[in-house]
């Protein structure tokens, strides 16, 4: 046992020099900030969607196309997708152990997150500007 007395660091970890990358707190914090933002935003979304579940397009577009809905829906989509990407990232890191599979899944999650957020916000803009 060559490790310093009382250290919990493994020999391999010491040799590889892999320690804290000082990013864990950022992830932890961002997960909670987005969670707090989602409390009012998601409740607003669910309260509205309950009344839109089987309306025709004109009614839906009328609600979706208001500037307030555009603003709140954009904030909701950003907070929701950011929160989901952070959460799914941890799930992949915890359960997927193959290096290639982990990397590919993390890339898919990141790209899908940006792509879905952009798609949703562009759809909202089109509805607001052109009435769908």
């Amino acid at each position: 046992m060559a490790s310093a007395k009382g250290s919990l660091r493994s020999e391999l970890g010491r040799v590889r020099g892999l320690g804290s990358a000082k990013e864990g707190v950022h992830h932890w914090w961002a997960q909670r900030v987005s969670a707090i933002a989602l409390i009012p935003l998601s409740l607003w979304f669910v309260a509205c969607i309950v009344f839109l579940i089987d309306v025709d397009r004109a009614t839906a577009v009328q609600w979706l196309g208001s500037p307030v809905t555009l603003g709140l829906m954009s904030l909701f989509l950003i907070a929701l997708i950011y929160h989901a990407v952070l959460g799914l990232q941890v799930v992949v890191e915890d359960y997927i152990h193959g290096k290639a599979a982990k990397l590919i899944l993390l890339l898919i999650i990141q790209f899908a997150g940006f792509g879905l957020a952009a798609t949703g916000i562009i759809a909202m803009l089109l509805i607001t500007l052109y009435g769908g």
């Binding site: 579940i53 025709d56 959460g87 759809a123 509805i127 769908g132």
Partner: protein, 131 residues
Amino acid sequence: MASHPRPTSPHLQIYRPQLTSILSILHRIAGIFLSLGILALIYWLVAAASSAEAFDQAQSLAASIVGRSLLFLWTGAFFYHLLNGLRHLAWDAGWGFELTAVYRSGWAVLIGSVVLSLAAWALGYWARGGL
């Protein structure tokens, strides 16, 4: 290499399932399931932006048995993840760590998410005057 084998924790299936461990994994499962709901939401928004036909198709998919079942499960997952998330935020602030409090808040989250899910659906059906 270490000269002694490093201690290992017993495998998960050794432990008796408890409310705390079930709720913990349920939080992750609900989160993964809700993430899939993002796909449905974006599809719905794109359909609304596209055409009346596209939106009608999205609405009839949502109204189908499979659609309604998914929406109901998403409602349950949402309220569970929301309430259990509040429980987690309280823990982060240092509140509710006593064992009795952990169990009490756990049951409150379970019962609360069932009640809120049913209330949301009752409100939805009431708003359009029945089934």
